[in-house]
């Protein structure tokens, strides 16, 4: 179950004959997506009982590490996939959106459970009716809460989606640009100042791909 969608024979060709330098050709999209899909770092955003199931998924019995996801990034700046597990109150909505904005590209979102996907049974004044009203969502996992198998199925679906992405498609990496006139806006200089003493990974550079 480790790797998903092993590259097709036609997509690669290798010469590994003895005594010679090895070489390999493949599509760059395929190689990059293969790497991305199998080393997703999840950012757990757990607010309710779904987070308990998520913890079970990450623990030894279900073992999220099989999919290259054992490294939970509690800092959004080091995360690839935001797993929103549980209901999101309206008070938390600006926080969730800011966390999503803090994640570097490429990034994906899994909405785990009925409450995150639609508000669930909490059709009241305090709860967001689906996090897709705040941030874009790639995969919805139904269930109340979903069993770990369901979450892993959603993760496999996300990996399949990642495998089918094209780097040339700029619309995939569309970013919500912070609006300087909004109350939410923090200038980059202030973010630098806040993160200075502990060297937040905001200063890290990615490959730029």
């Amino acid at each position: 179950m480790g790797l998903i969608s092993r590259p097709a024979r036609s997509a690669e060709s290798a010469d590994v004959s003895a005594g010679q330098e090895s070489w390999l050709t493949t599509r760059l999209d395929l190689l990059v997506n293969w790497g991305r899909a199998n080393s997703l770092w999840p950012m757990p955003f757990g607010t309710a009982c779904c987070a308990i199931e998520f913890m079970a998924t990450a623990a030894s019995r279900f073992d999220l590490a099989r999919f290259g996801m054992e490294r939970l990034a509690s800092s959004p700046r080091q995360a690839d996939v935001l797993i929103c597990a549980g209901r999101v109150p309206l008070k938390l909505a600006p926080v969730l959106r800011r966390i999503y904005q803090q994640m570097p590209q490429p990034k994906w979102v899994i909405s785990m459970g009925a409450c995150a996907s639609s508000g669930g049974m909490f059709d009241n004044y305090a709860v967001v009716q689906g996090i897709d009203t705040i941030i874009p969502v790639d995969v919805y996992v139904p269930g109340c809460p979903p069993r770990p198998e369901a979450l892993m199925y959603g993760i496999l679906m996300l990996q399949r989606k990642v495998m089918n992405e094209r780097m040339a498609d700029a619309s995939l990496r569309h970013e919500i640009v912070p609006d300087p006139s909004s109350q939410l806006y923090i200038p980059p200089s202030a973010i630098d100042e806040l993160s200075e003493p502990f060297g937040n990974s905001v200063h890290q550079t990615r490959s730029g791909l």
């Binding site: 909505a93 600006p94 009241n124 009203t133 939410l184 200075e196 003493p197 200063h203």
Partner: protein, 230 residues
Amino acid sequence: MSTSTYFAGSAAPGETPRTPRGVPHRGGEPNPSAGALQARFPGAVQRVDVVWGETTVVVDAAQVLDVVRWLHDDPQQRYELLADVTAVEFRDPEQPLEVVWHLRSLAYRRFLRLKGLLTKGAPLRVPSVWPIYKSADWLERECYDMFGITFDGHPDLRRILMWEGYREGHPLRKDFPLRGRFSRSEQLRQTLAANPEARYSMEELTIAEAFTELPLEVRKRLAGGERTGE
């Protein structure tokens, strides 16, 4: 109170607490503090109820601070723990709104429920018990947030569950619609316009003070412009 009698949630000093059996729904022996309150504040105590062995004293809401102070300070009462401050609103518009204080005397193993009645239509104001119990701070803020009851004398009465600048009112009131007063899109627009850190200044947010507490070696590396990370 003789040493052989007991009631729910209490026991005489030195007596082993026992599980109450056959407690009647209404009636039964009230908490001795109720009688003491009636003797001490004859004007303030309006009614004493015993329900499932627990004593409820309805007091004049305006005098609750004096009553609670006496219950806390009197050596025969010693109610040292304020367990809860909340409120109850009834569907009947004639029925007054009740503010409820749950007090517990650890020394005498007594539980006492105080209620103050607030007439609807008039401004909902009661004295804050914060000068006596510091734990009332957040409890009264929650009560204010959910019911709109003003606690006079509270040091920092503002919303605690809903966010700052929530404009739809007080959600646990009976006239509050389940889904709120505004449309979903308006609710979302307002909450996304809210600043999560509105209560904090940039000075409070910055962790520059923590720099001096870092180990010398780390400070040197950071001062040299090095970025940590993976």
